[in-house]
Structure formats: C-alpha cells, structure tokens
C-alpha cells in the first residue's frame, strides 16, 4: 500500500473520530480539544493533497488563533450545567444526517464532474512550488477580494471590540 493511502486513512479516521467527539462531548473543554485534534488531522490531509500553504495556514490560523478565542470565552463563561445534547433533536437528526451523508457520498462518487482543465499539473508543481502558484493567483486575479478580506477583518475586529466591551452608557450613568 502506498504511503499516501495509509496517511489518508489514518488522518481521516482521526478527523472523523475527533469530529464525533466535538459533537457529543458533554464538557465543552473536551469539545475544543477534539476540535484541535480534528483541525490538525485536516491540515495533514491538506499536506497529503499537496497543498502545503493551506495546510500550514490551517495550523497557524485555525488550530492556534481561532481555538484561543474559544478557550478564552469558555474560561470566562462558567461551566454549563445542563445536558449537552437535546434528546428529541438527537433522535430526529440521526436519520436526516444519515440520508444527507448518503446523498453527498453518492454525488461525490458517481457525480458528473468536469474533467481537469487547470494548468497546474503535478510536473508544473515540481518546477514552481504550491505556495508560489497560490500566491501568484491570489495577488493577480484575486487581488480585489484579497483587499476586501482585509476590510472584513477590520470590521470584524471593531465589531468584536464593540460587542465585547461593557456597556459604557450604564457606566457613565453610574458614575454621574
């Protein structure tokens, strides 16, 4: 068996088991730890597919930066005491989820996908690296969406600060 096949099965098993843990762990801290495990396994899958830049960004942004947000908020909000899973929705979601998965798997295996039309065949990736190919496209054809993404990050930062801070009006009234 080829090494990439072994890597795929191991990493996808880790990802799926961790995703089940994210959904069904009662303690939210265990859920976040499972999320880190799933994210790192998915990053390994990206490396396995030959997308090094995205795999590295996945670890840097998701598994470090975003998870730190969650850990901070979980440490601020006291531990949730109620039951983790709503039983009536759990019973209802299982058959619907199964049917949805069957449909997604069916269209992914038997779907009529377009044939490969891109220019980045594996021998071109031998000459220029994956990071160079992605960055070239990002800074030429998708330059405007890239700039808009920076604007979205700025708006999200301002919004998070405004939402997260304590109510100023109340404080001023209290002080006056």
């Amino acid at each position: 068996m080829e090494l990439s096949v072994v890597a795929f099965w191991i990493l996808s098993t880790i990802a799926v088991v961790s995703a089940i843990g994210v959904v069904f762990f009662k303690n939210i801290v265990y859920s976040v730890l499972s999320l880190i495990s799933a994210l790192i396994a998915i990053s390994g899958l990206f490396f396995n597919l030959g997308a090094e830049l995205v795999g590295a960004l996945q670890i840097l942004i998701y598994a470090v930066a975003i998870v730190v947000f969650y850990v901070l908020v979980i440490s601020t909000v006291p531990q949730y005491k109620g039951e983790a899973v709503d039983p009536k929705y759990a019973l209802l979601s299982a058959p619907f989820g199964f049917i949805l998965f069957l449909e997604l798997a069916y269209v992914s295996v038997y779907g009529l996908w377009a044939s490969n039309t891109g220019i980045f065949s594996p021998d071109i990736f031998q000459q220029i690296s994956n990071a160079k190919a992605v960055a070239t496209l990002l800074f030429t054809k998708y330059l405007f969406p890239f700039e808009v993404a920076s604007l979205i990050l700025l708006v999200a930062m301002i919004g998070a600060i405004l939402l997260g801070k304590k109510d100023i009006v109340e404080d001023e009234e209290g002080g006056a």
């Binding site: 995703a19 899958l45 597919l49 997308a51 998701y62 979601s93 949805l100 490969n116 990050l153 999200a156």
Partner: protein, 100 residues
C-alpha cells in the same frame, strides 16, 4: 494515490457531523464550534477538487474561508459574551426572547 472522491466523501461526512452538532447541542459555544467543523469540511472539498482539476483557485478560496472563519469566530464569540452578560446563560432553550 487516494482517489479524490474519498476526500469529497470525507468532506460530506464532516459536514453532516457539523450539522448534527448545530442541531443537537444546547450550548451556544458548542454550536459555534460545530460551525467550524462545517467550514473545514468545505475546505477539504475545495482542496480535493483542486487536486482533481489541476488548479489552485480552490486553495485561494480556502484562504478567504480562513479569513471569514476568523472574523466569524471573533464576532460570534463577542455576541456570546454580550448575551451571557445580559442573560447569564448560554443555553439555547432559555435564549428565546427577541426582546433585549
């Protein structure tokens, strides 16, 4: 090499698991974490299609999804903090009022 269909099927499985998480969990933070799983499922599908089609456009879009996920986590968790400060609860069964 693993056929790319397996990657897309894995993406579908993670998507369904994230959807089930959003449906069944009662804690708002856990619902937001399940949303992250769904975003990651989409990322896997994008990169798998790049692998199939010999292209890198999907990876550019994965980059944008990472940006949006960071913004979503920041704003969503800020909202959860604001809701918690007002209601002292994160249970979705008890956060049913639209009035502030």
């Amino acid at each position: 090499m693993v056929p790319y269909e397996y990657y897309v099927a894995l993406s579908g499985l993670l998507m369904v698991l994230g959807l089930i998480g959003v449906i069944v969990r009662k804690n708002v933070i856990a619902m937001l974490i399940s949303t992250e799983l769904m975003l990651n499922a989409v990322n896997i599908a994008f990169v798998a299609f790049d692998f199939k089609l010999h292209d890198v456009v999907g990876q550019v879009f994965v980059f944008f999804i990472l940006t949006i996920a960071a913004a979503e986590a920041a704003v969503g968790l800020g909202l959860i903090m604001a809701i918690y400060r007002m209601k002292k609860d994160v249970d979705v069964e008890k956060l049913t009022e639209l009035k502030g």
